[in-house]
């Protein structure tokens, strides 16, 4: 059976992750939520720690903590005491630190911390694959339903509200989706790098896209390509899986971005001499 092979399992899970991080990542890029993604991802470690401490399924615990952080942020955004990015910085690093402290306190616990932080292809189980595909399918279907209102509030929230879009539930749903996707993707790319898999393929895809939907599609393809390349490198050279995938994605971005600058420069030069 193909699922007996750890590499096939990791590849299958990684491709499932790319399917959802592509379109969701587009919204992260369009709505400038990269720091929010980081914050929720960092809180995932606290989720892992609490999961072990109270003997709850780690994905469930991570999802719970991530959603709580999202809702907390949505509520705290209303205050004017500190700026939102300060708030994100506090929550992000505090939850990461508290997570590490709790793991340190659980002296009986022997976990591979590096695996959680940076991903581990050896650790992907068959159950993880189901998690990725079931969680991913739920997230993808929700995103399809929310697509139009989300796009409308991304362009201009007041305009969308004046035209009858219920902005608050839509915004909250997006935050919860981010939390859900982080919970299922954590094992493949790791807590510290999950945001990269959300934003790098999406940012790279912008170069090829003329509509929001095509950008989402290209983001999926670039994400899958990065996963395939990254995992192969990880397998052959024994490098950590998350950083390998993210490096592959970053390489795509650099190539695409420099080709963009190059064609722009050449065009300008031609215009000047012509």
């Amino acid at each position: 059976m193909i699922l007996d092979d750890f590499f096939a399992r990791a590849m299958l899970a990684g491709i499932g992750v790319a399917l959802i991080t592509g379109p969701l990542g587009c919204f992260i890029v369009w709505r400038r939520m990269a720091y929010f993604g980081d914050t929720v991802a960092h809180s995932a470690l606290l989720g892992v720690a609490l999961g072990f401490a109270f003997d709850v399924d780690p994905t469930l615990a991570v999802g719970g903590v991530a959603i709580s952080i999202s809702v907390l942020l949505a509520v705290l955004q209303q205050q004017r005491w500190v700026a939102v990015d300060t708030l994100l910085g506090i929550l992000s690093h505090a939850s990461l630190s508290v997570g590490l402290v709790v793991i340190g306190l659980l002296t009986w616990l022997r976990i591979d911390l590096m695996g959680y932080l940076f991903g581990d292809i050896l650790a992907v189980t068959e159950a993880d694959i189901y998690r990725v595909y079931i969680g991913g399918a739920v997230a993808l279907i929700t995103l399809v339903f929310l697509w139009r209102p989300l796009l409308a509030i991304t362009v201009h929230e007041d305009l969308a509200r004046a035209e009858g879009v219920k902005a608050l539930p839509v915004r909250l749903a997006l935050m919860i989706l981010v939390a859900l996707v982080i919970a299922v993707a954590m094992k493949i790319v790791g807590i510290l790098l999950i945001t990269a898999l959300l934003i790098i393929p999406a940012a790279t895809a912008r170069r090829f896209s003329s509509s929001p939907e095509s950008m989402a599609l290209f983001a999926i393809l670039i994400g899958m390509f990065s996963v395939a390349v990254g995992l192969s490198v990880s397998l052959n050279y024994d490098t950590p899986s998350g950083p390998s995938i993210v490096s592959a994605a970053a390489l795509c971005f650099v190539l695409v971005f420099s080709s963009h600058l190059l064609t722009k420069g050449v065009r300008r030069w031609l215009n000047r001499s012509g």
């Binding site: 890029v29 369009w30 409308a152 362009v155 201009h156 007041d158 969308a160 896209s209 509509s211």
Partner: protein, 262 residues
């Protein structure tokens, strides 16, 4: 407001609206009514609460006191003040037009024709000039067949020639569609010709009336100082008689100018 129009000819009104934030009054005891076929322009300095008042009328902000009334079933078209399209979001004009309302390509094309930018239907939004973008946004609002059109600073990012053309377009829309228009502006020179009723706002309504009366009002002169006196140099009737064929011809020039620049 002059006279007291019956509710049946009103599109929307606010009565004694006060809005406070952090114990500061942003709007104080505002009364305003909008009728079909008339352009009401709110002018005032920065921070006067113009956009806030617009948002109260749109139902986006609930006032601390007072009432907002809108005719049941009223359809509203809105052009917000700041709409910065991030180029990282690829969006065509057609797509922007149909973000919240599904419409056939024909309908979209017709609305864009009305504002003179139909040839841009498939262009990327971030490639438009300031004037084109505002025209697309107005067309977008028209697509909803509005009884009430709300335009918050509709000429921002538009050059001086384009401004005059845009205000002319707005009067034409009023004449053609008979919708009520609520407009916010801070430039006085051009707006006067395109409006039926002017409200000077500085947290409270300082003065209001027909444009030619308002400019003579002492509160108005105080609010706008030197700008007001420089405005007086331009006789108002030159721009107000848009139905005069001669004036029409004169006014047409900037329109073609504005369009050829597109």
């Amino acid at each position: 407001m002059k006279g007291d129009p019956k509710r049946s000819d009103l599109l929307a009104s606010v009565k004694h609206v006060t809005l406070s934030r952090n114990r500061r009054e942003i709007l104080k005891d505002i009364n305003l009514a909008i009728q079909p076929g008339r352009v009401v322009t709110v002018i005032g300095p920065n921070g006067a609460g113009k956009s806030t008042l617009v948002k109260v009328i749109l139902g986006l902000i609930t006032p601390s006191q007072g009432q907002l009334w809108r005719r049941p079933g009223l359809s509203v078209g809105y052009v917000p003040q700041k709409l910065n399209m991030d180029p990282v979001l690829p969006l065509s004009v057609h797509r922007l037009m149909t973000l919240t309302k599904r419409a056939s390509r024909d309908e979209v094309h017709k609305a864009l024709t009305e504002t003179g930018v139909a040839q841009r239907i498939d262009s990327a939004v971030h490639g438009l000039s300031g004037g084109e973008f505002q025209r697309v946004l107005i067309a977008r609002a028209l697509l909803r067949r509005p009884d009430l059109l709300v335009l918050d600073e509709p000429v921002q990012g538009v050059d001086f020639v384009g401004e005059a053309a845009l205000y002319k377009l707005i009067s034409e829309i009023r004449d053609r569609r008979g919708c009520g228009i609520l407009m916010v502006s801070h430039d006085l020179h051009v707006v006067m010709g395109a409006t039926d009723w002017v409200v000077c706002l500085n947290r409270k309504i300082c003065c209001e009336g027909e444009p030619e009366r308002v400019i003579q009002h002492p509160e108005y002169a105080e609010m706008f100082g030197h700008q007001a006196s420089s405005f007086a140099v331009f006789p108002h009737h030159e721009t107000s008689h848009a139905d005069d064929p001669l004036d029409e011809a004169v006014c047409d020039e900037p329109v073609t100018h504005g369009r050829s620049a597109l």
